[in-house]
Structure formats: C-alpha cells, structure tokens
Symmetry: C2
Subunit: 596 residues, 2 copies
C-alpha cells in the first residue's frame, strides 16, 4: 500500500491515500495515521483533490526525478536549489532520484568531501551535506512518499542550546539567506518559506526564535519520521534550498586554530540592525526610541561563573550613575523578555558567555562591558567585541578583566567540562593553578581554559566604575549611520575632435597653427553629481594613440579642454574620461571615444 | 506633484496619486495618466488602498533605500538580487538609493568594469550592468516613482532578430535562471516572474517566444518611459534579479578569438530537452510520440544563401527515401509553425544559418544535415553541430559541403554585409575569389567569410543522398537517455576491534597467536546498492596507525575482514571504508573509525 501525503505549510491538510506508482489491485482508502508534523491534522480533503497539480510538468516524481541547480566553486561556498529532493528517515540520508527529466546544473564532478556545508560554520566535517543516488524507478520500492510543497530551507543548527551560536551561526545567516533566495512585496523575504532543522537535536529552548523567520511551522528532523513503517518511507521537498549564507559570520570558534574574528568580516551594522529589528518586531517588542528611561542591565549568571558581589556592584552603579539597574538571568527571564530588556537598555554588563550575544540588540550609543575572570585575556576571546565594534554598530565596548588573584574563586572540584582539573596529574594541576594567562588553545575542551572561565569573580568596584565612566565619556548620541561613499556616475556625451586651428592660437602665424594639432575633448558631468555634496570635482582623461598600448593621463577641472601635448596630425586617438570627487572618489570611465 | 503607481503583473491596477515623501500642502487626487505598460489600465483601486503593504519593513522607499545581495566572484559569474532597484528613463541608468536600511551583501569593492553581465554572452563590454549611487533622500527630487512589484528578471537580449541568438543567448539561459532563482509547486519555475528586456531594441519578430516564459506581460525598455515628464521619473523594481545563467552556453561567437564551441560545454541534453518541451507546451504544440509519420523538413531560404536546385533535391529525397518532404521558410511559416514542424520531423536539412538552431526541437534519433557553401569549412562553424552532438541529444548530425566551384554562385555585387566585395581593391577581391577555404577570422564582418557564406549553392544530389543514407544508418531508435553513474552511498556501522586471537589462527600454538595481532573490521554495505545493478562490488579499506600520515590501502570483496599485516599490538589505528562498484564507480568514505 503506497500513499502520498501532501504537507502544506507544515499542517497535513488531510490524508489522501493513493497508489503512488504502478497501481496494484488494492483500492481501499486507508488512513495511514498521523505523519510528520505534530501541529495538528485536519480531515480536510487532501491537496490533490482540492487543487490538482497541473500536468505541466508532470507531478509524478517517478517521471520527473529530482533536479538541482548549484552556484559556487567548492563545498564551503556552494548553495543549491533542489526540486524533488527526498529524505529517508530510515536510512537518515537525502536521496536524489535520477529520472528522465533530472537536471544537474553546477554540480561538481567529485562530491568529496561534500556537496556543501549544512551550516554557516565553515567546513565542519560532521555537518556536510551529500545525497545518495537512486533511479526514479526505485521509487517503486518505497511505501509512502510524503511531500512538503512550497519552498523549504534546510540546514543544521550548529549548537541550538547556546544563544551565541543560535544568533551568529543560525539565525543571522538564515535571515541573510532568506533575503537572498526568496522575495516578497511586503517583507524583506518570503515568510511562507518553511524552515527544516536537520541536525536532529530536540527543539531546545530557542526553538521559538527559529519560528520567527517563518509563518509556517518549523520542522525538526524528528518530525520527518512517519509513525508507520518508518524504515521505508520518504519525505520529499518540492523546492529545497541548501547552503546557508556565510557572509555575515564574524567569528571563528577555533576548531582548527585559536578562536578569533574571521579574517575578513563582511557583515555590516545595517545587516545586524535589520536582523535585530526583525526579531524584535516578530516578538512584538515595540521599540521606544525616546531615550527617557536610561537603565543598566546586568546579566546575572546563577549557576556558575558568578559575580560574587553582584549586589554590591548594582548598588554602586545606582549610586554612581543615578541609573536604574536591572538584573537579567535565564532563570528569571524568558528569551523574549531578555531581548526586550536589552533592546531598551543603555548599558549591558555581563561575564563572558553566550548571553553576551544579546548585546546585538542594544540600541545605538549603548555601552557593553564584558567581564573576564582572572587569567583570561579579553583580547583572545572576542566574539562580542568583534560584533560590537563593527563600523556603524555605534556601541561602546569595554572589557573589564579581574587581575587580582585574591578576587577569584576557582572550582578544581568541578567535572572537567565545567573547569574541574582533579582528573589531571598533580603536575598538570600545578601548571594550571599557577598560570596567570591561559595559553593559546583550540576549541573546545582545553582544561586550563575551562578552569579559568568557570571561576567566580569579585568585581573591584572602583576599577569597574572607572571603566564604565570611560565608556560613557565615549558615547556619541548621534546615529551611527556609516557614511557611504557615493560614486559619481559616468560622464556623458563625450565628444572629441582633432583640430589644427585651436582658438587659443588664433593670433599665431598660420604655419604655427598648422604645427600645433590639438585634441578637443568635451563632456557632460555625471548626472548624479548635482545631488552629491563634495569639495572638489575633477576629471581624469586618458588619451591613447590608436594602435599603441601606452597612454597619457591628465586631470582637469573643466568639462572641455584642448590637448596639444604629444598630439600629432593625421593620427587617430582613443580617449576615456572619468570623474573624481574630492580627489579620492573615482567614478567609472565612460566608454572609449575615437577621435580622428 | 509626486505620484506612486504600483504596477501589478504589468497591468496598472489603477492610478493612485499620493505625495511620495514629505507631504506638501497639495492634497488633490490627480490622475497622472497612463504610465509604463501599454497593455491596458483599469480604473480599479490601486494596490495601496486595496491591500496596504504592512509596515514591516516600512514600504517607504526613502526609509528603506535599495538593497542588494550578490553571489559570484567577478562580473562574469555574478548574479544579484536587488530590492527597490530603480531606473531613470531620462538618464538611462539604474539607481541604487543608499538609505538607512540599505544592505550591500556580496558587492565587490571595485565595480569596474561592471557589477555583472546583462547577457549570457561573457564579458561583452557593451552589455555591462552597473548602477548609479544616490542617497534615498534624493528621492525628493524625482516627480513620479512607479513600482513594479513582484519578482522581475532583468537582462539584455543579445540579438533579438536572430533565432540562434534568441534561443542560445537569451531563452535557454533565461529558462535555467528562472529554474535556479524561482520556484513553483506546479511548474519548473514561477511563471509570475516578470521579464524585463533592457537592451532597448524593438519587440522584434521573436518577442512572443520571450513571453512564453512568463504569465506576466514582458516589459521592454521603451515601456519604462512614462509619458509625463519622462526626464524626471523613476521606475522601481521591488525585487529584481540580474545576471543570466551562463551554464547552458555552448558556443562562443568569436568576438575575441575565432568562433567555436566553448571550452567546457556544461549544458546537458536533459536541460535542452526540458527547455524545448517547455516551449512546445507553452506554444500549445501537442507532442506526438508515435513515429507514424516520418517526414523531412527542408529549411528554405528565399532571399539569399539559396539552394538553387531545392525542387530537384526534394524530388530526389522523396524518390530515394519514400518520405514526405516539407519546405519551411520564415516567409511562409510563423515561428510557432516552424517549431511544430521541426519537432515532428525525422530529418532537418538546411544551409548554415540561424534557422538551423531549430534543430534543438527535433525529436530523438532525428537527422540534421547542415549544408555549407563552397569554401566554407564546416569544422570552423559549429554552433549547430556542437548542440546536436551533446551526449544524450541522440541526434545524427552531418555536414554536407559543396566542394565544386561550378556549383556555387557568388554575389560580389552585394552590399558588404551580404558578402559583396566590390568595395575592396582588385587585389583583395582576387584573393577572396580564388581562395578555396575561408581563413580563420574573428566575428563578425570578415569580407571573405561574408562573400562565401552568402553564396547560393547547387546541391550535388548524389553526394547528398549518400550523406543522408549514411546518417540514416546511424540512427538509433532507442531513447538516448544518457546512463548516469549511480554512486554507492557510504558503508554504515563500521566496527573495528584489535584482537590478539584471530580465529584463523586458532589451531596455532598460543605464542604465535600472541605474535599476530589483528585488526578486525566489519561494516554494512551501502544501503542503496540493493537497488543498483553492477557486475562487481568491492570495498577499499584504508588503515592508518594513529599519529602517522601514511596509510595502507586494501581492496576486499567481503564486508568483514581481519587485517594482520603491519598490525602491531597495543597500537591504535584509524580506518576508513568505501564501496567500489565495477572497479570504477567509487563511493564516498564512511567517516574514520578509531580502533584500539
């Protein structure tokens, strides 16, 4: 008994049992139970009855097969759009069904080590995407084929329990990817795109954040398992986009080298602000641009990496700055409240840790102070500093580091992943406890790093107040909109004449005029400069004798000029003109004109 | 008076006059007349009243500005999606309005020589796309801002009067581009995507072919000129895709080197067949797979490059092969009829020329015979041969060349672009008329090439019949579906144990057993091989001593094996296993297992 179920918007619109291919004799209409998504199933007529797919192209997967179109030159920058990509929950593999209409466009000859990355984290070999080959005719061997129609973005969450990873690795890349590959008249992207999370983890505490990016229920890998004969079912995606944008990634977690900002941070404050604004809107957070109520938020960890004198610190801040101080913790605030509070705060204070990623929600001109426990060098751990200091974020970032060993409390007795070191030899323990700076290490389980980062800290109030004062003094309350260089457009109407009687020489004897051929060039200024503001406008002119590869270059501040130097009679020349503003902002060349 | 008109699906749904930005005191509702598209305007309420855009993000272009997301590393392979890209008909330039929410993602630092190509023809410097910078605030200076909502694909037709260029440069790349960037549940792509043709030519005789790719009226550059104060209007595109796919291009026209097939033809018969099938369906041509009526089509040129004994040839073909012979010409058949006739023919015969591109519509196992006039070498002019011989097209291609000078009629008296040579010196004319083979040349106005290609030809019937007979003998009536290599998937459940008592040695003295440590590896075959057909299945095993960079490789034909060679006791090893079918089809490695 084969059945084909169409999942629309993640909600099963009814269960339509039909023979999938090559009908057998059994015609009974058997319900095959609750499949896929658990958001509720209705006894509505199934899509096929309701709104039959047209026969162009043939909706039958066996006739069509899968198709794929990819862009990118290697697996780390490749993105692909699949049509009719299937997934086998039993084998935990994606399947490409090679059929008579299968297109493979932009697929490399060698799929090793992978077709593409399933995450924005570059080249992580446990998060590769490949597919398994079958012929479309092999569909006969599968019992049930369920279809997710519409557009589906499929990726792996990198670490869905950690807010920094959620925001930096998943949600901002997802936001950019959706902006790139989908479109909408009302929104930045199409909110009907379904999000498929394939890493296989539980929903996690941040699942609702993923849901913000789609009006269609988010699908987890576990949702793809049909209850019935899971070993021989297929889930197919009509349109599947794979390959998250990596363009917004600013931090390298150090799997193959010490962690740090990526070599060439490409993301912009505008992208991050659009992202946070989107999240806030979708969470129903009303932004309040009036700066009436300035307040400080302290991220308060309750389990480990404690601020031992948090109360004293709060009191001192109130006294010193006359501002309200709010304490925020994951134990007392839901993620929506965390974001709302931070989005309205003037100052965010917290110990190094993933919650500090909330600083991207701070409004412009806010202050971030990141506290580092004893022996942890702020310059080596900069995921939040990197983000806060992107041009245009207009945040004031300060690291405050505990330099007093008497103000730190270590936890050698902890389990190793929380900084315990009792599993190590006495010598190793001695090295660790005596060190004043964690040496360079790779992610993610260096015992010395864990020992130090899980220390509790008594904040030196005097030092801290000075740090915050210095940060306040640097705030600029104007908007941090980065000024964009606006380039002059091409000059137009370039005309060019070779003349032997330049007006300038009109009172010279005629022989001399004859000896002074001139190239008369004129043009119209770039049309956009009338809107631009600038201090100087000049034009660069290139003149090349036809057939030669060298040229002479001139800068003039007029829009017509007669060039005489090196100009010979009865010779033809090519000329190019471009506009330069303020001596540095160079516009494009207008296409060559030929003067003869 | 500023007005904002929303164009939906190319049809103005009403004219909604409103102040665009910063309202002045004038509140009158003035109709601003007929703008943009000439397909008809209704007095329906405008979109804004009907279905107001939500306020997220702000629909006001001045607040949003333009945005762009690009992929690709240089202008020849870059594709971009713009939001709110505008065009000024007065200046004939696209404009990027830099606003507070403008995203520039994937834009290179230097836009020279261009952001991207407006055509699938690589790096043609008259078909570059760049935009002009303005600030969003400069919108105040424009009178009317008309909006094309929805998705828009914008490109330049390369040569819309020439069918080969239309199909190869524009429509097949458009088909692939739409498949890549849009999606649909029913079709290969979204037919609601609007096509904007920006090269500025007249509609041309093939405009209807472009219209096949969209259910929304195609827009020409001339449609973008508003009737009112054209100098100061803007046409904006909510979502604009630029950069045609170049992946299907198979021919280089020889602008910078002699013409010929591109170095690495990537397009596949499946893509071309999908394309022609799409065109036929959209033209309402019912494909008839029964091979009941075999017939020959002769492409009959009426003006120049004539077959002087066309009637005799047709008669000979009928007599020799007993097949119906139809004559097809642009003078007697509309493009739809041309395509329909060719799509049902068994043989297509024609002189080298753009109409020969119709051969892509031939059904499988059909024969193409391309006739070359005297002194024109078929090996140098292969746009149709290249296409016909793509693996899987399953066409039989033959060139027939007139080698008899007495059978050619030259036209030295023609204008130069039709092969006339009387504008040349006597010596030059002599060289040309005496030559027996046109020397290598670049596109597009070599007089010797034009002289020869515009000859009329008397076909040698005997030779021609032999050519066609030979072609017929090569026809294979089976489908030309190229067999795809299906790769075995990863082996699963790789387990690995170091053992000192291999069963094989159980009857040896115990010391020897002790001296023979073994690595026992086992795995489960790739799950997809049960569906595949193959002659042999083997496994390649790599074994590496931990910490070393060299490894030993083994091929076995079982799924468990005890390796003893070079295996030392108390040593740990890494092992990898992959499946190989027929000694050549190599599957991916399963991830390393550690054996200790």
């Amino acid at each position: 008994m084969r059945s084909l179920i169409y999942l629309m918007g993640g909600i099963i619109l009814g269960v339509c049992t039909q023979r999938y291919i090559l009908p057998q004799t059994d015609n009974s209409q058997t319900s095959v139970g609750n499949h896929g998504d658990d958001r509720g199933e209705q006894n509505a007529p199934c899509r096929q009855d309701d709104n039959p797919p047209t026969d162009f192209p043939d909706p039958n997967l066996r006739d069509e097969g899968s198709s794929v179109w990819c862009k990118g030159s290697n697996h780390t920058d490749r993105t692909c759009k699949f049509q009719n990509l299937c997934y086998s929950p039993g084998e935990d593999d994606f399947i490409f069904f090679h059929g008579p209409q299968s297109v493979l466009n932009g697929i490399p000859g060698n799929l090793e080590p992978a077709l593409l990355d399933m995450t924005s984290v570059r080249d992580h070999n446990s998060l590769y995407f490949t597919y398994v080959d079958l012929e479309a005719a092999h569909l006969d061997y599968f019992d049930n084929v369920d279809f997710y129609h519409g557009d589906n973005v499929i990726f792996n969450r990198f670490n869905p329990d950690n807010l920094m990873h959620v925001l930096h690795d998943d949600l901002l890349p997802l936001f950019t990817t959706l902006s790139q590959i989908t479109s909408s008249d009302e929104h930045l992207f199409n909110l009907d795109t379904r999000i498929i999370l394939m890493e296989g983890w539980k929903p996690g505490e941040y699942k609702d954040l993923y849901q913000l990016f789609s009006d269609v229920p988010v699908v987890l890998k576990s949702n793809l398992k049909s209850t019935e004969s899971p070993g021989n079912n297929l889930i197919c995606f009509r349109n599947a986009f794979l390959g998250l944008s990596k363009s917004t990634v600013w931090y390298d977690y150090g799997f193959t080298k010490p962690q740090g900002r990526v070599a060439n941070v490409k993301t912009t404050a505008t992208e991050i602000r659009q992202f946070t604004k989107f999240v806030e809107k979708r969470l129903g957070i009303v932004s309040d641009d009036s700066r009436a109520e300035e307040f400080i938020v302290i991220l308060s960890r309750k389990i480990n990496r404690l601020l031992l004198n948090e109360g004293e610190l709060m009191f001192a801040l109130i006294q010193q700055f006359g501002l309200k101080v709010m304490s925020l913790s994951v134990e007392t605030h839901a993620i929506r409240e965390q974001i709302e509070l931070v989005s309205k705060a003037s100052v965010l204070i917290g110990v190094h840790g993933s919650l500090m990623s909330l600083s991207m929600f701070l409004r412009e001109s806010a202050v971030v102070i990141e506290i580092f426990p004893y022996a942890v060098n702020p310059e080596k751990y900069t995921p939040y500093k990197t983000m806060a200091t992107i041009t245009g974020m207009n945040l004031v970032y300060r690291a405050w580091r505990n330099t007093k060993v008497e103000n730190t409390v270590t936890h050698p007795e902890n389990p190793p992943h929380l900084g315990g070191i009792q599993h190590l030899s006495d010598d190793e323990q001695e090295v660790i406890t005596q060190s004043k700076d964690v040496p360079v290490h790779q992610c993610c389980s260096d015992p010395q790093w864990l020992y130090r980062i899980y220390q509790d800290t008594v904040v030196d109030i005097g030092e801290f107040i000075e740090t915050l004062k210095s940060a306040f003094s640097e705030r600029t309350l104007e908007s941090g909109n980065t000024s964009v260089n606006l380039y002059p457009s091409k000059v137009k109407n370039v005309t060019c004449n070779l003349t032997r009687t330049p007006e300038d020489y009109s009172n010279l004897p005629s022989e001399e005029i004859w000896d002074n051929p001139a190239l008369a060039l004129s043009w119209i200024p770039p049309w956009n400069v009338k809107y631009l503001t600038y201090d100087s406008i000049k034009y660069e002119v290139w003149i090349q004798e036809s057939g030669r590869s060298d040229y002479s270059a001139w800068v003039v501040s007029v829009t017509e000029y007669k060039f005489t130097k090196h100009i010979k009679q009865d010779t033809s020349y090519n000329a190019w003109v471009r506009c330069i503003l303020n001596d540095t902002i160079v516009g494009p060349f207008a296409g060559a004109v030929v003067c003869s």
